[in-house]
């Protein structure tokens, strides 16, 4: 099937928008207002991440809380400072630019193995990076920590968790076994 030029352009524009929005380097003020985090969603709806809101909660030079050393702002973790105290700004700053979507695929494991000098062996994948970074901070500052506080579960998710309309009949557990 052939796509019309109009449709191609539209898809192209959408793709461009999706891939560039979160990748703009620079200081916090240059960052996007909202970021839709949905490339991995399977059982939940995408997260509408209010970047501007979160930027407003920190000082202007504290980008490293989430962006590590990539924005050129001072690195806070003393362990990271050993190498990244003045490593400067990087070309790519979006989470997915460094954290792989398929962290444990054979392809990515082979990449890790090839680079014998690689220090960041334990770098989490994209899903892990989101949930480790976001949730840790949310816990610390008393922000919501429930799964559905950030992303609503889809029907596929309900089925996966045997929840909602897919919930099992309550079993008789009176025997205590």
């Amino acid at each position: 099937m052939k796509m019309s030029i109009k449709r191609k352009t539209l898809y192209g524009a959408v793709a461009l928008l999706l891939f560039t929005c979160p990748c703009i380097p620079g200081n916090a003020a240059d960052g996007p207002e909202m970021v839709e985090l949905g490339s991995l969603t399977q059982y939940y709806e995408p997260v509408q991440f209010d970047h501007e809101l979160h930027v407003g909660m920190i000082e202007s030079n504290e980008c490293a809380i989430c962006h590590h050393h990539t924005l050129g702002t001072p690195v806070l973790d003393p362990v990271c400072q050993r190498c990244h105290a003045s490593s400067g700004e990087t070309d790519f700053v979006a989470c997915r630019d460094c954290h792989p979507a398929k962290r444990f695929s054979a392809e990515y494991l082979a990449v890790l193995e090839e680079d014998i000098n690689l220090f960041h062996l334990e770098k989490p994948g994209l899903q892990g990076a989101f949930h480790q970074n976001c949730l840790e901070c949310h816990k610390e500052y008393g922000a919501p920590t429930g799964c559905q506080d950030c992303h609503v579960r889809s029907e596929k998710g309900d089925k996966f968790f045997y929840s909602g309309e897919y919930a099992p009949e309550p079993a008789d557990n009176s025997s205590g076994h």
Binding site: V79, F104, L135, T145, S163, P168, A171
Partner: protein, 316 residues
């Protein structure tokens, strides 16, 4: 499936016994041999400090393995208050090859969650205890089993130091062992991580080559010593396991048996088992020989006596 009839089985075990008796009867030969796992076998490093007890791994396991519907939804956290007989926490069953348990540590502000499943030992006690050879340790590191061969004797349930194998008690006609196979059939074989690993939102589990995971574990301990106790559970326990653990609290406080030692379970019975074929094969032959020798002397004496008496009879 290969069918083995009784005659062949007996023949085979007899031949095996003779070979075992002939080749390895010295103590040294046995203790020198120990299997430390296949060189490129995979494993999983579980970082307990990251688990928040969301039970997504349990749901993923259920889906991947096509297990029956659970008794309660996987987002129902009341399961953490359930206890089995004797106040024990939840364990694996024929309906759940992995379970997460909650441990309330008084010194810690928040509970510690611990995922529990087969640890896929380098030298599995279940495998060595199985008399029908239903178990296989694959080169990828998984300990799998053939339910068609399993006769349901449950010896592996007793042999396993982690109490992992479960039993299909619900099937009175053909009950078999049920346990985690590291998603070998559907994923591991094709180079993919187990379903639970991929599903975990917090990436509590790291999948990779076992030897790389030990490096990662040690690096984590070294760079953030305040976060972890200085031990990777499973690196050496019972000869090493494919699944290993990092924890912020001493392992015995979160349901781990820390008294298992570093020897594979089989090493405790290897020396004894080596004697069994010797006793079975050599003793009967040896003692029949002794008996015959002793008897021969008697028989000869009897013969002599009869000759003597005949001679005496002749003299008279």
């Amino acid at each position: 499936m290969k069918k083995i009839d009784r005659r062949k089985f007996l023949k085979g075990s007899l031949a095996g016994g003779v070979v075992a008796a002939a080749t390895g009867t010295t103590k040294k030969a046995h203790s020198a041999y120990s299997f430390e796992g296949y060189p490129d076998s995979m494993g999983v490093l579980v970082d307990l400090t990251k688990c928040v007890g969301c039970r997504t791994c349990e749901a993923a396991c259920n889906k991947e393995q096509g297990l029956p519907a659970p008794d309660k939804p996987f987002d129902d956290m009341s399961v953490y208050d359930e206890h089995r007989h004797g106040g024990l926490k939840r364990r694996t069953s024929e309906k759940a090859y992995t379970v997460v348990n909650r441990y309330d540590i008084p010194e810690k502000g928040e509970p510690v969650y611990r995922k529990f499943q087969c640890n896929h030992c380098n030298e599995p006690a279940c495998l060595t205890s199985c008399f029908v050879n239903a178990y296989t340790k694959t080169k990828e590191g998984a300990v799998i089993y053939d339910p068609k061969v399993c006769v349901g004797c449950r010896t592996c349930m007793i042999a396993c130091p982690f109490y992992v194998p479960a039993y299909s008690y619900s099937s009175p006609i053909d009950p078999v062992i049920k346990k985690c196979i590291m998603c070998y059939d559907t994923r591991l074989k094709f180079g993919k991580p187990p379903a639970c690993v991929e599903a975990c939102p917090r990436e509590v589990m790291t999948f990779g080559k076992r030897e790389d995971l030990i490096k990662i574990g040690n690096q984590k301990i070294r760079t953030t010593p305040d976060r972890y106790v200085n031990h990777i559970y499973g690196e050496h326990e019972v000869g090493g396991t494919a699944w290993m653990y990092l924890s912020s609290v001493p392992f015995d406080q979160v349901g781990f048996d820390t008294k298992l030692g570093t020897q594979p379970i089989i090493s405790y019975v290897k020396d004894f088992l080596a004697i069994v074929p010797m006793v079975l094969c050599i003793w009967p032959a040896l003692f029949t020989g002794f008996h015959l020798l002793a008897h021969r002397k008697n028989a000869r004496q009897q013969d002599n006596q009869t000759v003597k008496s005949k001679k005496e009879e002749g003299h008279e």
